[in-house]
Symmetry: C2
Subunit: 516 residues, 2 copies
């Protein structure tokens, strides 16, 4: 969630760049936040926690076997809690969904899709990348899930805005070139003399010349960074062509596209599990024990009792000492319970956001062979928003391109179409960027509209404001704990689900240890 507002500033303000890593580490260490230890506060429950206390791990019912539910079960299981996961869908994973040939995908008010991708091909229909600082990677390490680089930035991918297509490296070179020229000339003319010492000015000009690849007169006249029409080799090559004018470059509107990895959450490099994101689900399910997960179990009632929680689902009922509810808040809000009106009101506060993706399988990797795009993302102001090229199985015979990944209004637009019409529209749009091969060479497609996925009904949620509803649900209501990415500032990231699950687990376990 790039751009999440920072609402709290810690003690560390001011320690930043000046002191170097030593001072930074020292300060962070003093706060128990040594770098790399992403969640130092978390101590997994252990069976030995009970040994001197005469207490025992209890029975816990977990609603939802998505990433939050599985993480909660996994961590509670370390101390011997007897967990049961109730999952309304046909399989565990929730939004961590990887589609492969043979899968069948149903949706609310729409036809089912039969996925016909070839062997090895996969499409991460939900989360598809992991930032290196996120706890998600810690779980990959702990569970032995191999990871590989996800290419989030690619200078050779395209930017298609205002009807024009350029390589993102060229778009960046042009914008940086003109920004550098403008500032260098303003500096050179003395317009900034009040702000800059002489040393500052010299250093700034040196930087700008490098940053914008400026000529000796501080002009931007293009750069080999834009690419080549004739590549260097036996001779020096021929550059791709002169850039447009400053006005043309500004009018092209490439700004959003060329800053897409500027946020801390999407900064290059990013990572993905080898073979599909659901390797995380598979790893967690194995660790938890598949027999603890009851699929097709749609919860219909949650009843808080004096000494436990009773949960009813279509086809069964169980009592446990505690409950961890990890369903999306808008789904949970509709299930009858006796936790009080403030809980219902709080669950109703976050607003579901539509999100959609399509996976397009091609019989040849033309984006690699012809466009020299190996992984990465083409950014566009077309309603497809992005085209993702696979960061794995380079040079394989086939490959799956993500033909759109959009949210909000664009996602709703595509989601309202039939799968066949989504495919057709995605191909028509992508053809504007890649030409006829984009439509001609496609073998099959599979699309998802998360707002139309049963029992999920949204890509993620948006809190109109982070208010008391948010903090209310971060604490248990009687013996019911809530967890999910939606209760964190890492919404739409698996790391949010994991952190939230850890918080619920810690609160629950501490309570058990404290209980008389």
């Amino acid at each position: 969630m790039e751009g999440a507002a920072l609402t709290r500033r810690g003690l560390l303000v001011g320690i930043g760049a000046a002191g170097g890593a030593g001072a930074m580490y020292a300060a962070m260490g003093a706060l128990g936040l040594a770098p790399g230890d992403q969640d130092k506060a978390f101590v997994p429950p252990r069976a030995s926690d009970f040994s001197l206390q005469g207490r025992a791990a209890g029975k816990v019912v977990i609603l939802g076997a998505g990433v939050a539910g599985l993480t909660a079960a996994y961590e509670l299981g370390k101390a011997g809690y007897d967990c049961t996961l109730l999952e309304a869908r046909g399989k565990a994973g929730g939004r961590n969904l990887t589609l492969r040939g043979g899968d069948r995908l149903t949706e609310l008010n729409g036809p089912a899709q039969q996925v016909t991708f070839g062997e090895r091909a996969y499409f991460n229909a939900g989360p598809a990348r992991i930032a290196p600082w996120m706890v998600t990677l810690d779980y990959c390490r702990e569970l032995g899930i191999p990871i590989e680089t996800f290419v989030n930035r690619n200078a050779h991918a395209y930017v298609h805005t205002s009807g024009q297509t350029v390589r993102s490296g060229a778009a960046r070179a042009d914008m940086y070139g003109y920004v550098a020229e403008l500032l260098a000339k303003a500096t050179d003319l003395g317009a900034l003399d009040k702000k800059l010492t002489r040393d500052d000015r010299e250093r700034l000009l040196e930087f700008l010349t490098r940053f914008g690849d400026l000529g000796p007169k501080l002009d931007y006249e293009g750069s080999s960074r834009r690419g080549y029409a004739e590549l260097p080799g036996l001779d020096a090559g021929a550059p791709l062509g002169a850039p447009g004018t400053l006005s043309q470059v500004l009018a092209a509107g490439t700004g959003r596209a060329i800053t897409n990895d500027f946020g801390y959450e999407q900064a290059t490099p990013m990572f993905q599990p080898v073979g599909g994101m659901d390797a995380i689900v598979t790893g967690l399910v194995e660790a938890v024990g598949a027999d603890r997960i009851r699929t097709g179990a749609q919860v219909t009632q949650i009843t808080s009792l004096a000494d436990g929680v009773e949960v009813t689902w279509r086809g069964g009922r169980m009592k446990a000492d505690y409950c961890v509810a990890t369903l999306p808040p808008h789904v949970l809000a509709k299930i009858p319970h006796n936790l009080g009106e403030p809980v219902t009101a709080a669950l109703r506060t976050p607003v579901p956001v539509a999100a959609g993706k399509i996976g397009l399988e091609y019989g040849r990797r033309w984006w690699e062979i012809e466009d020299r795009i190996y992984g990465g993302i083409t950014e566009t102001d077309l309603d497809i928003t992005h085209i993702w090229y696979p960061s794995h199985d380079y040079h394989a015979a086939r490959g799956v391109v993500v033909g759109y990944y959009n949210t909000g209004a664009e996602a709703e637009l595509y989601g309202a179409l039939t799968p066949e019409d989504r495919r057709r529209r995605a191909l028509t749009q992508g053809k504007k960027i890649h030409g006829e091969k984009y439509r001609a060479d496609v073998l099959s497609a599979a699309s998802i509209a998360w707002e139309r996925q049963e029992h999920i009904q949204g890509g993620w949620v948006r809190w109109p404001v982070i208010d008391s509803s948010f903090t209310l649900l971060q604490r248990p209501s009687a013996r019911v704990y809530f967890a999910g990415d939606w209760l964190t500032h890492l919404i739409a990231w698996q790391a949010g689900a994991m952190q939230s699950a850890r918080s619920a687990v810690t609160q629950l376990h501490q309570r058990v240890l404290r209980s008389p």
Copy 2:
């Protein structure tokens, strides 16, 4: 070779951004330069080329079994040429050298090193990354060599300059932030009104706000892009701290470090063969046939004859129809020949450049677990210049870090030390960035000083000017053809060696087809 001068501008100047990919492709296609077809001019020789002509492929002696020599043999072999490669060193590959446990590395005027890395660990002592537009990837595809992403840019790696250490993402955020603020304010005050229309100004301010993460008053006051002291999760987190002042940020001298992937040759993403760069050597040797390569064969004389070439080496002599000489020019220049003084003078023109690297094997991947650095490069003004973290086998038990990769004076400084002293110095320097663990946890090391490698004697060469010596050697002298990265504008890249070999092969084959 970032910054290679463009000496020729083609017909395409001016077609650039304006026309979009369609126009660009059309124009490039018209010149036979469709994107993705990196060397369209090259048609591999085929046995069938001879079928209607009554001619036959001849015998070719190739001097040097590095990437250029192997590529020449591979391409000539497609038409049935009978190639013999004479390689002075103990094995094929030249500077494409991957060191593993069990390897022994000798050097001129220095002790031999026994490499003791553990299983799976490797160190690409020569080339270590491939740009996606380079012909090197075409050979990987053709030869079935799996590739994976090489992380050349990492926001979480460090910049250590002027004695201070910051994350490269933080250094970039600060520099971009202040550049954006300065230009935004100059723009806002009307200092650029002559250069900007009202639309331009609005668009520029919108871009600068995004680019620098500026506040509503166009101030740069830090950004979550710098990173966090307390990561976002259950709450919004605490930012890493306020940035230094503009003067401090400029004085830190991070400019070179934060623009390191701006050149077209090093633009993100880059790639590497899975398991070590020498997979390319292995693939070419297999395709050529190991029995065609005579190792330990130091050439001592090249004699051009009326109907062929005679080559003498320590221990043998052979006559062939043609010769392709791929040795480094400064090595080739010392071998007696009868090709004339201009050839010798031309071969003496390029100047060898020293280059060195050290591989440090650690018993744990502290850079991933503690620093959250997964691949990428720390840039520094210390004499180690760079620290590279491995882009593969993430989360494995062990890993090899490149503790320095330097050239010129710094490389000579390290090269003059014993391997043990290189290791000690590299660890002392790296400790300034990473702390005591950098020295404490190292298991073993292996270093290379390319200027001290027998029969190679340099990392690569530098042409004082690209003059008639360069073009003279791009053409055959009698029946001797020259090839190597040093005869291209892709010096120090395997792609240069490959392109040059292709040129020699094409010239040779055309001549054979034309010959009476």
